[in-house]
Symmetry: C2
Subunit: 237 residues, 2 copies
DNA sequence: GAAAAACTGTGTCTGGCAGACACGGTTTGT
DNA sequence: ACAAACCGTGTCTGCCAGACACAGTTTTTC
């Protein structure tokens, strides 16, 4: 295993502390991660630099390297720190309700920390809290006739959908935000090229309650899963 | 409209050239974008710098700024250059076949240029080719009783799924690749903490044909859409 | 108790990056 | 012919990640 991955695993999964010789560390991984999250929440992931995070803690940049091997590991810690605990499934609720609640809570995580979208693209080591989210989906689908790989695939499907919705709503942004401009630009472009995109223009002209995207996709996915479950349990009953 | 967004729109949507005074430009937007794509394909999006792209064309970094306002616009051009044309729907095929083909081709685009995942996170201006992909999904769903917003939501749902699968298969990587290490690490971590993630451990232990994730999710989504369409057209017939 | 070992925070340095700006050379319109 | 416009370039600033050496502090070991 490469040293980088090894270090990250130790940071995310390893023991919380280890008493040693030398002077007592003035910082903790938790404080560093929290400072990073603060910067990312305020100015986005791109604004997170060793300089800024250290400055927020009134330390020099290089002191951070005593705690964290590099920036990638810092961001891994930030992700693990910012992601919420997945909701505990309420007693007696079916898989459908559990997955609905799961999706809503995950969407809220992304809404609270939009930079999570940027921080969680690409190959990386996942932390304990993040893995718990996956565990919950798979657990909710236990005992309904799906194979192991199918349960995993279903989890990826759900997570992908929530991610996509989060990306979309971040791109739209609240009214008046800098991101909202892209909506305006999109509108102008569509207006000028409506002939090239007739179906798209028609769909956009059609009114109807917006901001249903999360629920719409979720219902389709759950309907699709329900159909499969029905087929499976029906066939084996 | 901000100047940055305006510039990007002009680059992506504007006229291909405009004869002027001065010396003839030695470069074209196409060549620059192609050089950027070459770098990104070989070393990833993070390795794309003005230096490297210019060097590949045997020019200095600053000369690129005569063609492109900044790096963000360069990447927008790269995306528009790297993304494939969406497949033309074959004659007489239904919406389900069309969307299946669409998803497969989009997944291939991501497989050919994995950095597209990194380049298409966050608010940005989309180009003509990219918008054509969206148009095709919406067009395929025309005339089946879905409202405009619903057709848009369905498109986001599909695109999000393909994206998620592309991200997953990139993270896994081909055997022997540097990314494959993360799979090993994941396996070790799961092995050590199987008690904390019992459902996950069980799902992973269960054998079964892998690499079905794209099709699995796709079938669920399409089943869900089919159920909705059936309800709609049945109710109005 | 004293010396050695190990660790902490820091200052300095390198190499790479995006981008601003000014300049000389080139082409075209008047 | 001349001026305007534009091209490619060299130079400069400021920010970034990270390597490395150093002095001070605390614990272990003799």
């Amino acid at each position: 295993m490469s040293e980088a991955a090894n270090d990250t695993v130790r940071l995310l999964w390893g023991p919380p502390a280890k008493p040693t010789r030398g002077p007592k560390p003035a910082l903790t991984l938790e404080r560093i991660a929290a400072a990073g999250v603060e910067v990312a929440d305020a100015e986005g992931l791109a604004a997170v630099s060793m300089q800024k995070v250290a400055g927020l803690l009134d330390f020099t940049k290089m002191s951070l390297y005593r705690y964290v091997p590099g920036k990638a590991e810092l961001i891994a810690l930030m992700v693990e720190s910012a992601v919420d605990e997945p909701p505990r499934p309420a007693e007696g609720t079916g898989w459908r309700e559990q997955l609905t609640a799961w999706s809503g809570h995950l969407a809220e995580s992304f809404a609270r920390h939009p930079w999570l979208l940027d921080a969680t693209v690409g190959p990386r080591v996942v932390g304990p809290k993040e893995l718990t989210w996956l565990e919950r989906v798979v657990a909710a689908l236990d005992g309904h006739g799906l194979t192991g790989p199918e349960r995993m695939d279903a989890a990826v499907l759900l997570a992908g959908h929530v991610r996509g919705i989060a990306a979309q709503s971040r791109a739209a942004g609240p009214a008046g935000s800098p991101e909202a401009e892209f909506r305006t630009v999109f509108g102008l472009v569509m207006q000028q090229h409506a002939d090239r995109y007739p179906a798209l223009a028609a769909a956009l002209a059609d009114p109807g309650g917006r901001d249903q995207a999360l629920d719409f996709g979720l219902e389709r996915i759950l309907d699709g899963l329900a159909a499969l479950i029905e087929r499976r349990t029906g066939a084996r009953a």
